[in-house]
């Protein structure tokens, strides 16, 4: 299944001819990101934390589906796996919240890799079905009565919100936001390094011309399985962070609609881009609320209209749209300066 979006991995829509502008825009972004939680209330800080959490999850999906062409309709399962790992560790073993992240990451990396191995045989629709099955299977597994002691069954697990360390004079919401922000930036930088270098080129080659890639010596099987693993790892870390932010996990939190939302968010943000993940995360968090305000009677109909509208205007995602718009703007500026 080939995606036809342009495969460049640039993480910004600002044209490359203005390096000073790019630095300035990054600095401004960083400043805003750090100042925001002090300017808005706890509820909005919580929402922003969720946006960051979902962008990490979507980045994982982008790696797999956008860069590597392996479609996944079940990434919610890895999100759930990471979330429950964090919850169980914190609840039953009193593990501190930050230590649950490496544990979730490791578990999901292995799980993703193990899933990726048999998935090598499946292509396109068939892989979609297999991942769809994974996503649908998660809630019944989590509810399975013999796992109840561990998972809390249908009732779920309540998690205690972490306090800011060293007695910092900020609220729990603000601390969680900064914690998540740091992890998000780190993971995004890691992804950028991976995807811009040899690994990224190998993934894209496998996606676009698998036979040629093999002929050039790319170990397709290894890359594809590893990508599944790393992608699952990212989404698992997001799951753990999400569980800590929401302070609760239950099987009903991780149904197939979550997996579908991930796919939708990825495509809308721009599935072959890194920045697209952030736009997608914002879309998933804010647009349902906007739809609710527009129509109380049939909000999801409005959401559906939004989806279709976005795809008409920006079939390549928000990032592609911004790039095209930016290029046009630049061309017009250059024309007028002659």
């Amino acid at each position: 299944m080939q995606t036809e979006t342009t495969a460049t991995a640039t993480a910004t829509a600002v044209p490359a001819k203005l390096p000073g502008a790019r630095l300035a825009s990054w600095a401004a972004l960083a400043l805003i990101a750090c100042a925001l939680p002090f300017l808005i209330n706890g509820y909005h800080t919580f929402q922003l934390t969720l946006v960051l959490v979902y962008s990490i999850a979507l980045l994982g999906l982008n790696m797999l589906t956008g860069y590597n062409g392996q479609i996944s309709l079940g990434h919610g399962a890895f999100y759930a796996l990471g979330a429950y790992t964090a919850a169980i560790l914190m609840n039953s073993l009193d593990v501190p919240y930050w230590a649950t992240l490496p544990a979730s990451a490791a578990l999901c990396l292995v799980a993703g890799f193990l899933f990726g191995l048999p998935a090598l045989r499946l292509e396109g629709l068939y892989l979609a079905l297999a991942t769809f099955a994974l996503g649908i299977t998660m809630p019944p597994l989590l509810k399975y009565k013999h796992f109840d002691a561990l998972t809390g069954g249908s009732q779920g697990i309540v998690i205690i919100k972490p306090d800011p360390p060293f007695g910092l004079p900020i609220s729990q919401d603000q601390w969680l936001y900064f914690f998540t922000l740091v992890i998000t930036v780190a993971l995004f930088l890691l992804a950028r390094n991976l995807l811009r270098g040899r690994v990224g080129r190998a993934l894209v080659a496998i996606r676009d011309h698998p036979v040629a890639a093999e002929a050039m010596g790319v170990n397709s099987a290894l890359y594809k399985s590893l990508t599944f693993g790393v992608s699952a790892m990212y989404t698992g870390i997001a799951g753990a962070l999400g569980a800590i932010a929401v302070q609760f996990v239950a099987p009903d939190s991780f149904d197939i609609f979550l997996s579908i939302s991930f796919l939708v968010g990825s495509v809308i943000g721009g599935i072959s881009s890194i920045a697209g993940a952030v736009f997608g995360g914002a879309f998933i968090v804010f647009v349902p609320n906007i739809a609710n305000q527009i129509s109380k009677a049939a909000p999801w109909a409005i959401y559906g209209v939004f989806l279709i509208g976005f795809m008409y205007l920006m079939p390549g995602g928000i990032v592609a749209f911004l790039r095209i718009a930016g290029d046009r703007l630049l061309r017009r500026m250059r024309k007028s300066s002659r």
Partner: protein
């Protein structure tokens, strides 16, 4: 032992439900090479239309035929108006449009008709056949209708010029245009037929599961699995796949692992088969020559 057969027949009835929607999925795949995730919700919406007509006093068969026609036209319109603009977009973008349609239909149905369940009449006699209580007359009738649709579909694609033109348009639009096939209208026709098949599926399913906006949401996964299991380009395979999935699920739930995990196990088995036979049981295996 009687429970075994009871489960098998019950599985054939639910399998028939999956098969009927799977046929619609195969139809649309054959015509457009896309899997329409909104097929189930469109079928559900068609069934509500039929319900409205019957509720307004129309006799059953009038309403049935009228609904099928309206659904056909609706499918054509949706393809021309909503899908056409994203024809050349990446596959996943088209998938997002399908998901958009899915939520729109579901939400509209809930808004217009509320979420109370509604009875939907069956054209078949309601009293169980004495002595043979494993399967109700409607259950048998629904399976029969599915098989009839299957035969019609197979004949259409195999023996009619229009069916051939449709398959050509989906397989190689450029070449198809060169021989004079109006590719755009082939796609629209495909959507129309799929919507019509979906309407039939919905009207057969509703008497069994009761009509409510979420009637088809559970069925879609099974239909999808059945279609791929049997081979996405084989209508016969999709129907067989549907029956197998239905019976398998029942037997697994009753005799192997209990109801909690029967869905998981059934899906694992299906995916397992796909790993061994990646094109499904009867699908065409595409060989890539380098």
């Amino acid at each position: 032992m009687s429970t075994f057969w009871a489960q098998v027949f019950s599985g054939l009835v639910t399998g028939g439900i999956y098969a009927s929607l799977a046929l619609a999925l195969v139809m649309i795949y054959q015509a457009t090479h896309h899997v329409n995730f909104a097929q189930g919700e469109m079928a559900m919406f068609s069934t509500y239309l039929a319900w409205s007509l019957i509720h307004a006093g129309m006799p059953y068969w009038f309403a049935f035929v009228l609904t099928v026609l309206i659904s056909f036209v609706g499918g054509v319109v949706i393809e021309r108006v909503i899908i056409r603009p994203v024809e050349n977009a990446p596959v996943l973008s088209v998938v997002v449009v399908f998901i958009g349609l899915l939520v729109i239909f579901n939400s509209l149905a809930g808004w217009i008709y509320t979420y109370s369940i509604k009875s939907f009449p069956s054209p078949f006699p309601s009293q169980p056949i004495s002595g043979f209580e494993y399967i109700s007359p409607h259950g048998m009738g629904a399976i029969g209708v599915t098989l009839v649709v299957l035969v019609l579909l197979y004949a259409f694609f195999r023996f009619t010029p229009l069916g051939l033109a449709m398959r050509a348009a989906a397989l190689n639009p450029a070449s198809a245009r060169l021989v004079g096939i109006r590719v755009g209208w082939m796609l629209a026709l495909g959507w129309g037929l799929a919507a019509a098949i979906g309407a039939v599926a919905g009207m057969m399913v509703a008497p069994i599961v009761y009509l409510d906006p979420n009637m088809m949401s559970g069925v879609l996964l099974y239909a999808f699995a059945a279609a791929l299991f049997g081979g996405i380009d084989s209508p016969g395979g999709a129907v067989l796949g549907g029956f197998i999935v239905g019976v398998l699920e029942n037997l697994v739930g009753a005799f192997v692992i209990g109801n909690d995990l029967k869905l998981s196990l059934a899906l694992v088995l299906i995916v397992g088969v796909l790993v061994v036979r990646p094109a499904g049981l009867f699908g065409r295996v595409l060989v890539n020559r380098v």
